[in-house]
Subunit: 420 residues, 2 copies
């Protein structure tokens, strides 16, 4: 009963909001259809629009042909809330997007006084037939949208042109991304928020297909459920995604699946283990399992070091191997729990071997960036790269190094065992 009441309330809320705003993306460019260039713009647009509460309903890649583009623009404009085009707005013969959008709506191109002034200002040109002036000839009903630079807060000097519900973005990825981020207010749909959950399953899709069918039937129209096999992952076989505009429906569907899926097939795969380290590691330590007991013992050692030394006096040995990565994670979890608000970074010492694999170096760099380590210091250098690692570590009094109990113990140069 309670579930039904909640579901009813959520449905009413959804009906009041109306369906989500939709978008169609038109990527314009022969070079993409010829396989010369890989389109990255549509992926960026899909991600950003979803975060803004807009459902992307279609992506189309079309050639640099006025009639083809015009046909797609007209069709998309009548079906979707927003149409975003990308590409074809430069000064050369193959830049035909403005012409195509004009044709889609039965308009013509005309010089826009504001853009003519900008062309004069940027290029020093006033001749109506110069290539630069092509940028100023736009469909007659165009609007000019000045975005805001998100870093500086100041308005962009050059506007994005839109015609009705069609927004005409540049094709150069850096420019398109900056323009979309600077104009996100045009697309933001406060009434819609997409909620997502993910379940990772260590079993073949065939095994879970019947449960997914049931879930899909029970939540159809309220929660969209996707099932994606991953043949490359070491952790799971299938990624299930649940998406809904209602957090309540989402949680209902999530619980439904967690109850109905075969026992033990759901695996706790974390895409971001770093920010949740304290919660996850201590839950494991307190679980009482065999692994949990070992983790708890290691945490006691780490906490002993944290009791005796300040963060400034501590240093973790890290060479990118499995053992010391596990240790680093434990230290990170203990520090995260003890100093949740800390600003200072944890120090690591990376003693480079003579011939490290480049993949290892990359992993170390990525780990340093991910785990709030001291290495991201002002020099921008990682670990021991800067002039004097000794100087950096001068304040360190305690050193943690991860090894297996089956390995010979590490010893400090003095011959005494290291502290952990």
């Amino acid at each position: 009963m309670r579930g039904a009441v909640r579901a009813g309330a959520a449905l009413r809320a959804m009906a009041a909001r109306g369906p989500a705003a939709t978008a169609g993306i038109i990527v314009i460019g022969d070079e993409i259809l010829k396989g010369h260039t890989r389109d990255t713009n549509s992926f960026f647009m899909c991600q950003r629009l979803r975060a803004l509460g807009v459902r992307v309903a279609r992506v189309s890649v079309v050639p640099d042909d006025v009639d083809t583009i015009a046909g797609e623009v007209a069709a998309f404009a009548s079906r979707f809330t927003y149409v975003l085009t990308s590409g074809g707005i430069g000064p050369t013969h193959d830049d035909v997007t403005f012409e195509a959008v004009a044709r889609a709506f039965g308009e013509v191109l005309a010089p826009h006084p504001e853009l003519v002034a900008l062309v004069h200002r940027f290029f020093g040109k006033t001749d109506a037939s110069c290539p630069e002036m092509k940028l100023a000839r736009i469909p007659t009903s165009s609007r000019l949208n000045y975005g805001t630079d998100r870093r500086t807060g100041s308005a962009f000097k050059y506007p994005l042109v839109s015609v009705r519900n069609v927004y005409i973005f540049p094709g150069i990825p850096a420019l398109m991304e900056r323009a979309l981020d600077g104009l996100s207010h045009l697309f933001r749909n406060e009434q819609t928020c997409f909620h997502s959950r993910t379940i990772y399953v260590a079993a073949d899709e065939m095994l879970i297909a019947p449960v997914l069918d049931q879930a899909n039937t029970s939540f159809q129209g309220r929660v969209s459920l996707g099932s994606y096999p991953d043949w490359a992952s070491n952790y799971y076989r299938v990624k299930l995604t649940l998406d809904s505009e209602s957090e309540e429906h989402l949680e209902d569907a999530y619980r439904f699946l967690m109850e109905k899926l075969p026992p033990d097939v759901v695996v706790p795969f974390l895409t971001d283990p770093v920010s949740q380290a304290a919660t996850e590691v201590y839950a494991l330590a307190e679980s009482g399992s065999a692994l949990g007991q070992k983790v708890a013992a290691a945490l006691r050692t780490v906490e002993g070091a944290l009791d005796r030394y300040s963060l400034d006096q501590l240093c973790v040995g890290f060479n990118g191997g499995k053992d010391c990565t596990a240790l680093l994670h434990l230290v990170h979890a203990a520090v995260q729990r003890r100093y949740p608000e800390r600003q200072e970074k944890l120090k690591v010492l990376y003693i480079r071997i003579v011939s490290p694999f480049p993949e290892m170096e990359q992993f170390i760099q990525a780990t340093v960036q991910r785990t709030w380590l001291a290495a991201a210091s002002k020099s921008g250098a990682v670990c021991s790269r800067a002039a004097s690692p000794a100087a950096r570590l001068a304040a360190a009094r305690s050193m943690c190094a991860g090894t297996r109990s089956s390995s010979a113990p590490w010893r400090a140069p003095s011959g005494r065992p290291w502290s952990t």
Copy 2:
């Protein structure tokens, strides 16, 4: 006159061949429109189809919705020679591509005896309602296409389903790629070969737009001309691409542009400097320019070493820096010219500094792979990584090391200057 005669002959040849075969690609997947997953399949398909003589006319990304997919399939099937779909053919509720293709052509799904037998063989299942059997229920007019594994030459065990001119590919990239490569004969269009040339221009698009307009007008319908600014390149500002089904037209358009473009804006940017090293480097050495004279002098030293020592006795010092990269290129050019058929690889010695940047290590790896260097030995290790660099270099009698004349000369540990 001669040009007109040739153009006439080429046009007749093209008319005899008819227009190129076309393809439309339909990528099926909510996950792509939601920005959860980046589509890589359409790029792969565009590249492969073009190489097979097929012009990709459209790419469309659609949600997992039967009616939407059916509408797009029907529209594409009537407009393009081939339709390739990707995704939505697994066992779960969100796999609706077969159903959608059936609906597009007014067909229904029915178990295909050959696929039923394969499901039995692979999964040991015969129950008509089991999830596995969904893979065997396909549109009634389906054909089964068994591709050939290009590595082994044997037929794939599982076929690709097609309905009329619609080819239904899996969405998992590795499977799709293998299927398309194994079935390329279905799409190969022997009558069409796309020819391409690229011109790199170190000038703003505005400056060359008028010439491009002229070229486009002169060659419209015969050569397609693209102009792509690149804001990230250190070598050029604009990449011009010329594409044609006629090599003759392509060369005419290329000559037209090379004559009309402003002087000195075309830059000789080589995307593959390695395979053309001998030609390019010796042309520079013989050009008589100031740089050419220096290159010629360096080549004389390198050739002196090649006169005195066998390749097995030679080793190039290489640390990824600018100086020794230039030297490596010169040695590579000299060796390429002297031993064009050689099988053996050139030896390099990389003396790693204590803290190399990972980017440098990556560059060194890439260079070693690109330039036919000894490092690609059986151990799979690069340069000095393996157990005994000394053992590998035991046979080396001469060492080339690149420095600038402005730097202090390198000296061998013995105190005598190194040979170059």
